[in-house]
Symmetry: C2
Subunit: 110 residues, 2 copies
DNA sequence: CTCGTATATGCGCTTATTTGAATAATAAAG
DNA sequence: CTTTATTATTCAAATAAGCGCATATACGAG
């Protein structure tokens, strides 16, 4: 699958999409949803983060169309809207694993 | 290639890597370098952006280890360090093409 | 209608990011 | 050493992101 160089507009859309991935909490949410759908409370417990934080990150993912919601009574279940997300993220992890691709400010943390 | 759910630390590294992609100029640079290596001046002309802007974005990509440089005299040629980058970006473009994955504030621009 | 659970949002604050313009650093040539 | 071409960096200002805390909304039970 060889795609052309994107136009200015497409690159902007792509950048906006990638905004989903620049936050570690959102990445953890996406991987959690990749295992199976979760509701907000479950994600809150699993990630050990305040509920408001989880909700707001879920809103980001929802606005980008990366997750879908189903309501059952008062609980809302989130699931991935497109499994290729994980495919792309896994490629990036492969790059990370092989490469020296560490931000300068992170080298200390290893 | 099925990867495990990342740890907190790995997800942070992944988020830092994805920081490369949240700027349309950096995406355009990466795709330009995917065609063939370029020096700074060439990128400046091709993207029609101020040189300082290009240089600073190149520094971001360099610090992340996503591009490599070769010096020939006074000109510095940049090339992709890992072709899988484009692979991942193309997947995301596929998601964009198929999906309704548009940020609310972007729908107007179409 | 009221209460309790589940989820979303508003506010204020702090910290990051992006940018143009100007300036510095680097290297080859004369 | 001075000049010129190329690339990198500093600066200040504007914009955007993320957070905790508190509060609001939505739904169902009783």
């Amino acid at each position: 699958m060889l795609l052309q160089t994107p136009t200015q507009e497409v690159s902007q859309l792509e950048a906006n999409l990638c905004y989903a991935f620049v936050d570690s909490t959102r990445i953890l949410i996406l991987y959690a949803l990749n295992e199976h759908p979760h509701n907000v409370t479950e994600l809150t417990l699993q990630l050990g983060a305040p509920q408001s934080k989880i909700s707001r990150h879920l809103k980001v993912l929802r606005d980008l169309g990366l997750v879908r919601t189903t309501r059952r009574g008062v609980t809302i279940t989130y699931e991935l809207a497109d499994l290729r997300l994980i495919e792309a993220l896994d490629i990036l992890r492969g790059i990370l694993r092989d490469g020296i691709n560490l931000k300068a400010n992170l080298i200390a943390e290893l």
